[in-house]
Symmetry: D2
Subunit: 399 residues, 4 copies
């Protein structure tokens, strides 16, 4: 487990946007970012409400003077600090509609960004974000955190190496139950903004978790989409956004991908489950039991790959994404931290003035984020047109 | 476990069509039919090849004189036997294209029929079959055998009683891998006819197993369909029929059902898996582990219902569909036999000149079979029209 | 699936002892015995109460004249029938204390016997049974039915072939919950005799299910025991026999086997679970999910062997113990029937005057049954002596 | 998730002993200790080799001046620092034989201690440790980290509240495979000291993991032991300590506990599995799948309790031991951190001069550690005496 940042020889300095009281994902970012002792949280704009922002700082051990009332104040003041003190990156963990202005502000100041997903409010913003990242030369990662699980990376590398043969079918489902009732009518902060089109964007379940399921299928397989037919539903009466949805995606190679997202399935917690069928082998993985993956081949015993950094079957990347030996389960925080960890490698290279990969990154990048926004846009549009087939090729998407 | 047939006080006499060497499902019928000691296999037309038909008889302990060379010969000669000797019912376990002529011949002679699925070659034949059954007054069951599992019946009764609330989503998948290679090019009898449009009908995977998945969703929930959009694929190059398919079905009540059928998923055996989401509870069941079902409700521990005939939570029908106490696993044969068992009840009533239920039967009936054929027809048509929405309301379908 | 009996060319004729109303295992024998169409139930002494015996006959389709009032009457009268009509074998499915007199009576008439387990009331009787079998030359099988599961046989053959290396540890547990309350005080027939020392013998849980767990370990591994230390408890107050017990067994090769049997574990159904550790590989199998077995080897993905008669990894015996393809689950009845099926092979050989294997049989034989009785005797004695080490070597036991 | 330390209003300052290159558990302590942002690692004596100790400091971000060459140097120099700078506690993550001198040195200086398990080299040392802790008034926790899992605490509270009734049986197994080969003959640091009696103590597998399994049974149930009979084996030829062992423990209330520990079971990773049978309910939990626990009751569906801090069924302590909502799996690090977190509460109270609980603590304390050493001592002794029953009552053990 690395703890320094190579020849940089210091911790990276982090600022957090969002994470005030009632927040869920802000705390996750803060915990994941420092798990490997490579970064320290030193500044924050923890709420859009300046008073709340400052009041939340002690809980993160952020000093009073660096607990800012707004993100633009933060960027402005941090940039005036000596180079050896100012922040290296901003983590954006706010409701969706504010991701873009915050990230853009940081990028324009040359600050690296780790941005929550969905990356922006809509696809137009996403395209602007791509331009802003390209212009800035900064490191930009999107927290499609499920890509951080060691066995997800193992699956990706097995597939990209051709071990599964040609991929012909992907079934990626993300099933939850927490919005089974109209929670947004109560005071639940999470439910309130996630079901509000003015904060969440054009999609509900499909924006919040459908994108994860889609991203996982894309990240694991590298398969490229061609067109999509989608069906979104608001199963809970009076809800403004979809809480159940299903997309059929024709892939460029003739394969078929299906994506289901639900927030209304009783008792289902965070059940992201993917199956991939290749001509040579098939595999499946389930987020709630992330330390194992099943690989099947006709005529052979089914194989359970466990997360085992010492096993000969693990790829070097997957092994290096582990922190504990087999049987000592790793989970959500560690996977989240793996998005950070590999973005840190790029940040260190950048800080040292070196080249770093921008498109075919291990972590999800701005192109992945933009593709996710395109997916949402086309799904919502297809659903409105009775499931019409709409194009899904985003030219800048990674292949 | 009942063994007599009530006041009838004798075993029912069975004839088998199909089941000659290389057959799979014929032997299953023969075994399931006698499991409860309520029937005896006394006659057969075991192959379309008369010589093979006769040669196969000893393996079923069918006497030489009742081993017929063809089904029409069988029906004709059996009807000439004294009433106390002649067959009560015919089980049709032949390739799909011959189901209809065989069943029709039996029905016209007033003989009860247990027919394999898909029920006919096409929907037009299915409608003729409905008419033939209605005219005959005979008992007619279709071997949608998965409805015979005790926990499937438990699920059905829990749902119909309203325990799960309004059903809003059904995901029913049937995943296999055995046709991953082009097995039909070798000498494999099963693969040969199941991938041949002239014997199997218009659909491959969707006819063979997609119908089971659809039927299971309909049987469990009673939810009525409105329209279907379907995507069928032949993933194995050169295959004449679909080996992978996916249907989205809008239900009359606004709910959404999705059906996936695959024959090309490496290592997958016979993985029929269904999830049902209601407003009050959700449940899931998996054919390969049929003795348990999971029921979930937000805020409650998840509940594993095991097949336990002595448990207070089992419905009377589900309990009476068991033969063994909990923990003594029951499986495929027993479920298959449960289709027979409950059809026998009707046959006994008929033999005694009494009324018996014809539509809302415990076992799958001719209307279910016809609905399955309509499903195949509309799926194939929708797929040909690029996934166009086509109507799925079959007026005679059970509600 | 064979259905004839080779050159014998007729069904074997079966008589059933036990199986009257309220019986559980009698019906299981009757169903399993005919599953493969190789035998017919033609006679019975279904209860120790002659009236009940005769009244129970119709439920088994046994004719009035062959529904006998007692087992000795049955043996006597059957032996007077012409050779072509009289029974070939008797299945003994009565409470434990009557196994011996019934089996002995049949053996002395030269009739083959399938006997329930535990084989006798005590070990002294078991030794007499061995003598009686040896003298008779008849086929004798004991219904340690769990040996009939295809994957148990697969495990046995993999182990005996050396694939797992030297076996060093066996953990075999059989956990139930049905006697958690003092059911014997109510009218439950099963509980009544199984907790009654005068009918069940010296042990309760250890006699009823501990023997199964022990037998499974012995059958799977072929490892030979040296000595045993045992601890039996009656957890339910006032119960006459043990309902929980644990034995530690030192094996001849230095390995260690532990056996736990419980009837008082809430909600546990019929949970027979075994783990075997070898120097090269380890495996585990669970009766309640009998169609899969896990095989592990350091540094390799864990392997799930499913019951798949067509898979290259299945041994010929294990494959021939299947009736259905993979994914079509087989279960309790089929395993039970596999004890019968392989005993039938021996009966056919005997009927044809040929030699047949008597010690190293596929089915559990009289030596296995006797070893089980020795196990019970030594466990009870050890427990009474505070867990003292007592010898476990039974000289006639199979190696 | 709390991040401050209440009115103390500062992070606690931590020193680490052990954790140099090749160490496994040192890094785990360092990561777990700071997970909740309540402590900072500021000093260390990272190796018994002074040069290696200093060389390892950067990897922990420990400044050069506080990277000490030995634990006594560290304690001496830290105590000379101003009160507002010096360490609050020492984490001892060294091989077993050095736990005691290090901890004693710290305790005598009044420094709190988090000590790895087994707590000492032998039971005599453990008794001295108890005296040292009692004399010091310091907080002392032992890293029986599995007690930190939220569902383990949930189980404990359900059991202590009487929900399971009287506990009659506990089966606690800890199965690993990593020492299947004689790894100590290679250069593997972990294997080397853990199989060396001069560093590990009198027991191998039983000291390393058997104590965890025993502690888990004791912690979950509160049941008190009476006597033990134990069987230890060195399955790998030439190994100095046991690598497989089994203990039978008679509990004071008449219940029976069995403990199995293995390091030689192929492919088994870190499989700590416990089953508890009560008169009213039974439960089971498995460390490798720690976010669920199964609770069973005769006649009821089995219940899967998932780690869900928002569910009404969770006890307040178990809920407060969670950091993430249900379905976002938590694992090894979080459980480990929960030992720290609750010890921190006591440290804060102590720092503020307040009373804190010393015996019935949420975290494992010195009495638990001492009981573990007594368990090891009696197991080793019993095994040497052929499994003789030896007393297991440790008078200071918690009840």
């Amino acid at each position: 487990m690395e703890t320094t940042n190579g020849s940089l020889n210091r911790k990276l300095r982090m600022a957090l946007c969002g994470g005030g009281q009632g927040s869920f994902i802000g705390r996750v970012h803060a915990t994941a970012a420092v798990l490997d002792n490579r970064a320290a949280l030193v500044a924050g704009a923890l709420s859009s409400n300046p008073e709340k922002a400052k009041a939340s700082a002690p809980a993160y051990d952020i000093s009073e003077e660096r607990a800012y009332g707004s993100y633009d104040e933060m960027v402005e003041k941090e940039m005036k600090l000596p180079e050896g003190e100012r922040i290296d990156f901003v983590s954006v963990a706010t409701p969706n509609h504010t991701h873009f202005p915050i990230a853009k502000c940081a990028l324009e100041a040359g600050i690296n960004v780790i941005c929550d997903k969905p990356m922006t409010f809509d696809f137009a913003q996403a395209e602007e974000m791509v331009a802003a990242v390209e212009k800035s030369g900064a490191v930009f990662a999107v927290s499609h955190n499920y890509t951080g699980y060691p066995l997800v990376r193992q699956a990706r590398e097995m597939i990209l190496s051709g071990e599964l043969g040609e991929i012909q079918a992907i079934r990626s489902n993300y099933i939850q139950g927490w919005l089974r009732t109209k929670l947004e009518d109560s005071d639940q902060k999470q439910a309130a903004w996630r079901t509000d089109p003015s904060k969440s964007g054009a999609a509900g379940a499909f924006g919040d978790i459908g994108t994860h399921a889609y991203n996982l299928g894309r990240y694991m397989t590298g398969l490229f989409p061609e067109e999509v037919s989608c069906h979104l539903k608001s199963m809970v009466e009076g809800r403004a956004l979809d809480d159940y949805g299903h997309a059929v995606i024709r892939m460029e190679n003739g394969g078929l991908m299906t994506v289901t997202a639900s927030q209304i399935s009783h008792g289902r917690e965070n059940d992201l489950f993917i199956e991939v069928d290749g001509t040579k082998k098939a595999l499946q993985w389930k987020q709630e039991n992330p330390n194992e993956m099943i690989v099947r081949e006709n005529g052979q015993p089914h194989k359970i790959y466990t997360r085992d950094p010492n096993a000969p079957f693990m790829t070097p990347l997957a092994a290096s994404s582990c922190r504990l030996p087999a049987g000592h389960p790793e989970a959500f925080f560690e996977a989240f931290a793996n998005v950070y960890r590999f973005a840190y490698d790029a940040m260190v290279l950048r800080a040292e003035g070196k080249e770093f990969e921008k498109k075919d990154t291990i972590y999800p990048n701005v192109y992945d984020g933009a593709e996710g926004m395109y997916f949402i846009q086309q799904c919502v549009a297809s659903s409105k047109e009775n499931g019409a087939w709409l194009p899904m090729k985003y030219e800048k998407a990674r292949r």
